[in-house]
């Protein structure tokens, strides 16, 4: 009996894949973001921070990617894990929030985004590999949450995720205070991300920061760029290395359309 696909994951090929792996097949790798992402609550709202390196195993695939995703004008989300998963899940929930805003006529709340994200991730049982730091300011005040790939969440005053989370959390645990000013908060977030950038091999390049307060959001893309390329100063020229050994031109046969009768399309 033919049962139509209802979407979601199909595990039909798992047995075949296991057999292939046992025969020595290397399964294709996916783009993981490596990553250091952080968030903290300060006096007037929430500050989110992220590095900008995307890795594919030991190789840097993108030196300057964007890990702070837009959810709503007052809500942003940092993503670690599989890049495709974080992009897809944040885009999806962002659309859902917009429709919800039209429906209710109100500003989106952070707990709404949280519930939509966690229920989606839980229903995929951890197969959607997205670890998120969600932060925003709504009518009920500033909020900061972490969301794990299996769908569990935490509500915290400061949070870090990704391969560089330990390096960043070491900074937060030493220097975090409640009720910091905006400048102090930005400085601490930048310091935490830099700790990940220099001490974790999965994180690198630049520091992105997003400051969310009541009624205003500032997205500071590449707030710090402490890793410029300094060598070589002038570029490299590559001389033409291909040499033409033989030129042979074979003209194509002309294809002439043949119209028979004239009753090609009736009615």
């Amino acid at each position: 009996m033919e049962v139509p696909q209802k979407g979601g994951f199909s595990f039909d090929l798992c047995r075949r894949n296991e057999m292939l792996v046992s025969k020595g097949l290397r399964s294709p790798s996916f783009l993981k973001t490596g990553t250091t992402i952080v968030g903290l609550i300060f006096q007037d709202g929430v500050i989110l921070g992220a590095d900008t390196r995307a890795t594919e195993g030991p190789i840097v695939a993108d030196k300057n990617c964007e890990k702070i995703h837009y959810m709503a004008p007052n809500i942003y989300c940092c993503g670690a894990g599989t890049a495709a998963d974080t992009e897809a899940v944040t885009d999806m929930v962002s659309s859902q929030l917009k429709l919800h805003r039209y429906h209710t006529g109100r500003e989106s709340r952070v707990v709404t985004a949280l519930t939509l994200l966690k229920s989606h991730l839980f229903s995929y049982q951890g197969y959607v590999s997205a670890a998120l730091v969600l932060g925003g300011v709504d009518v009920t005040g500033p909020h900061l949450h972490t969301i794990y790939p299996h769908g569990s969440t935490d509500t915290l005053p400061y949070a870090t995720m990704g391969s560089g989370s330990l390096a960043a959390m070491a900074i937060f645990e030493s220097k975090y205070r409640e009720g910091m000013s905006r400048d102090e908060g930005i400085k601490l977030v930048a310091e935490a991300i830099l700790s990940g950038v220099f001490n974790d091999l999965g994180s690198g390049s630049n520091v992105d920061i997003c400051v969310i307060t009541k009624g205003n959001t500032e997205y500071l893309r590449n707030h710090l760029s402490p890793n410029p390329r300094t060598y070589p100063q002038k570029g490299y020229t590559f001389s033409k290395k291909t040499e033409v050994l033989l030129t042979k031109i074979t003209p194509l046969r002309e294809i002439v359309p043949v119209i028979e009768g004239g009753d090609a399309m009736e009615e």
Binding site: P58, G204, N227, Y231, P232
Partner: protein, 223 residues
């Protein structure tokens, strides 16, 4: 009943990249100074280059504990040679010794990816490249380690003849001057550092020529 697999490995990979380029009367050997394990950095200041003889220098990436053990074996064998022959080992001789030493442990290999650089008996630059179990070849240039897949195509593009049909054939021993070769090597590492997470921190360059051995350093990206 599937065979039980070991859940402990005697090996680890400390990352890093090595390059060597041979010239008409010099040899450039370079390696980065980052030592890492997994996603962590162990140290930013570790030398992977060692002088084995007056005219012979080796750079090795891979598992540094095995590299260190290999270096000690070669140093002790060289000392014995000096006692027996009353002279230093030549670079080609050391090349053969390294190959034999690696193959000796064919069934529990040194996890060490080596490039040997120096001057041969005529004073021309020579580079030998190895795999982990001792297969070696004299070449004009080579790279080993985590960044080698990024650097080798670039060196092929700059130093190798584009086609064997072209005459005169470009000799593997590069016609570049010493400073041009050093500039090439610096570019290789700066580029590999951009894309390989295990390469970075500092670049150590050793140059051998008729005047002796010289050492240079350059900063690389630290992220």
């Amino acid at each position: 009943m599937t065979k039980q697999q070991a859940n402990w490995s005697p090996y680890d990979n400390n990352g890093g990249t090595c390059v060597a380029v041979a010239g008409a009367d010099y040899c450039v050997i370079a390696a980065d100074t980052r030592m890492s394990t997994g996603y962590n950095i162990l140290t930013r200041d570790y030398s992977k280059i060692i002088k084995l003889a007056d005219k012979c220098v080796m750079a090795s990436s891979g598992f540094q504990a095995d590299v260190r053990a290999l270096q000690k074996v070669l140093a002790s064998r060289h000392l014995i040679y000096q006692h027996q022959h009353n002279k230093q080992m030549s670079c080609p001789a050391m090349g053969q010794l390294l190959s034999n030493t690696l193959y000796y442990k064919r069934f529990f290999p040194y996890y060490s990816f080596n490039v040997l650089g120096g001057l041969d008996n005529e004073g021309k630059g020579c580079v030998f490249t190895y795999d982990a179990v001792g297969s070696y070849e004299r070449v004009g240039y080579s790279s080993q380690g985590s960044g080698s897949t990024l650097i080798m195509p670039f060196l092929d593009n700059q130093l190798k003849s584009p086609s064997p049909l072209l005459l005169p054939a470009k000799d593997a021993v590069t016609p570049l001057s010493e400073s041009e070769a050093i500039d090439l090597v610096k570019t290789c590492f700066a580029s590999a550092t951009e894309r390989d997470i295990y390469t970075g921190d500092k670049l150590e360059i050793v140059v051998l020529n008729a005047g002796g051995i010289r050492r240079e350093e350059m900063d690389l990206r630290k992220d």
